[in-house]
Symmetry: C3
Amino acid sequence: MRHLMSPLDLSVEELDKLLTLANDIEKNPKKYAHACDGKKLATLFYEPSTRTRLSFETAMLNLGGSVIGFSSADSSSAAKGESVSDTIRVISCFADICAMRHPKEGAPLVASLKSSIPVINAGDGGHQHPTQTLADLLTIRSLKGRLSNLKIGLCGDLKFGRTVHSLINALIRYPNVEFVLISPKELRVPEYIREDVLVANNIPFTEVERLEDAIPDLDILYMTRVQKERFFNEEDYIRMKDFYILDKEKMALAKDDMLVLHPLPRVNEISVEVDDDPRAVYFKQVQYGVYVRMALILTLLGIEVQ
Amino acid sequence: MRHLMSPLDLSVEELDKLLTLANDIEKNPKKYAHACDGKKLATLFYEPSTRTRLSFETAMLNLGGSVIGFSSADSSSAAKGESVSDTIRVISCFADICAMRHPKEGAPLVASLKSSIPVINAGDGGHQHPTQTLADLLTIRSLKGRLSNLKIGLCGDLKFGRTVHSLINALIRYPNVEFVLISPKELRVPEYIREDVLVANNIPFTEVERLEDAIPDLDILYMTRVQKERFFNEEDYIRMKDFYILDKEKMALAKDDMLVLHPLPRVNEISVEVDDDPRAVYFKQVQYGVYVRMALILTLLGIEVQ
Amino acid sequence: MRHLMSPLDLSVEELDKLLTLANDIEKNPKKYAHACDGKKLATLFYEPSTRTRLSFETAMLNLGGSVIGFSSADSSSAAKGESVSDTIRVISCFADICAMRHPKEGAPLVASLKSSIPVINAGDGGHQHPTQTLADLLTIRSLKGRLSNLKIGLCGDLKFGRTVHSLINALIRYPNVEFVLISPKELRVPEYIREDVLVANNIPFTEVERLEDAIPDLDILYMTRVQKERFFNEEDYIRMKDFYILDKEKMALAKDDMLVLHPLPRVNEISVEVDDDPRAVYFKQVQYGVYVRMALILTLLGIEVQ
């Protein structure tokens, strides 16, 4: 029985196999259209997240399976005081595999310990969101052809952004990867990423405050949202807010083959005028998210399609 | 790529073809049972509407397809500030066709501009609800055999009732259609319907206050709800409320082949004693709503069944 | 047209046939995997209940059918004032069978009177929850081999617990069944169960306050939750609360083949240390709940699988 709690649960080899499977699914969707006939996915979303939930549901439906579940805690037994451990044992009687989003860190892990079906962490508080990272990796590998030899800019709220931390952790396993960390001082990556991950592994990185300064050299620009409330004072916010909005002008400074990713939802940190730029791949990233979740479901269920 | 924003998006010929297809579906449901195998409908309901949502879902399931979506804005990404334009681009990665209900007028239109899948307006504020109108037209054509040569009574809240406005707009395209507008003064059809639609097109119509006065001549009686809060004063409400309740007594005044339609939900404006009258077809109308949505999905997806 | 409002709607013979069908489904799930192809179940949950709803949905999906519905009243037409009678007539146009949970006693019965599809009561207020009772009976019959000759302990809140009342009503139809009613005085079974059901039918029963005193002789122990708020005073609660918590110590006093059932969700009335005891069958009970609902759907739809 395998679960997915963190992207690091998969070795580099396993991940490689998973991404290759996702690309085969992309190319031959019909081949997989009945791979999960008669199987059921449970989407247990204790906290709403339409995009992630619908991506999982789409993945299972594309494989011929079906879906049960709930989209918020109000309509779950949690309201009656049931523990996550009990819920997963009940769900194990209903479904073949489960995707769980929970506001509490570690809840999917607790569930996986008592589960008799594979549990996928679909986001647990500020902690992990591994299938987003898998989608990011698939997008980069598919469109760049590699996960090594890359200069990656991470821009925005690098302190609280769990997708950024996950992506750093996942990418340092590949050779010759370099990071440019673009954020206001208040929102720099936390100590446990800078020291324990980057420094400890001898990964080259720089920290800058202005996106314009960083963008010309990047192979990948990974944007995230900077919320006004995160700034310590109004003055700083006014001084810096434009640094983190990606527009045509900034795109003009970038390489011709730089890719722009974003975990979505986007608010205003990428101007809509950038959407039609062929380097803007954040909607393709959504599509890759479906393929990688299809590959993940097949892998965790141990289903091989010939 | 075609969308459906208003019933008038379809020409009279296209509408005729659509209704004919719906009747064929009614007669040969099995022929269409796998027409949408492997296809997905997204139901994006930013505002709850069980009947409309379930009608769409039933339509897609009857065609062999499957459904993803959400049933209220709380559980959507809108809560995180995502625009409708972004949401539809994301949904385009998941589904093959989409039905959107939104409290804001024009939201489905905005979505359709950025969508790479057909978007069906499933109701946008007080503006349009085109599939209700298609259901109304199919009901009338199926049970009366025609959409021309009809005297149609529209009763109740004609000011705010969008289904009434849509129906008028749709029916004036057929020859020899006459309207009897039955409502309290405060709830008469707005200027932009009376002048710009009826008068401008030389459509015969009369406005009356009492349903009893109008009912004997009608071929069709389209009932809608009159909410107490809509009246300007209590006195008027007390004087008139019974005018707009359809009961056995009033039905006795009507022709033997007059049909009673209602977009539902009904509160008390049609007495339940009328339900068993063969002329009461508002539940059949629900069934026709499924057939016409099936026909619409097939048409917008460009699927032809031999 | 048959509905299921109460477990007693089924005669002993019909129930026997239903449970036998459920066991056949358990043994040969593939045989039934397409029995409901093209059929639709509507889950109309006017009050949230994830476990019951998902059990019904799982049952229908396991039979090859599909599901539409809603999981709380907010997203239903009830909010617009539609009656249950109207709702079921609308749903009859969409689905082939319906499971309804409603906070008001009798609502599913009202619905069934106007329905043209079978209606299953999935819980109506404190009144009935027949499919829970069917799951209880299937669990006992499958694991004990009989529904007669049993000494059954019912423990906890016997006053408000509808599953307990339903189970008593269902079991007294079998020969040589004896009950041990274990509860604080404030939460003893109501008069209409003690006098009108047990005494009136000459069913042997005893009432005790301490689970430890009762457990050694039992064949079945049916646990339910005792909520603190139900006690009349704090003193009583402190004195008695441990009486009703099933732990390893109390299990040591029980027979080797006693079964522990619980309708779930469990809060703390069964210590988790008991979960691994082979006599603890409350999660198996969930699985039997799916089988019995599959059998029920087939039976009410009149579908026979060869």
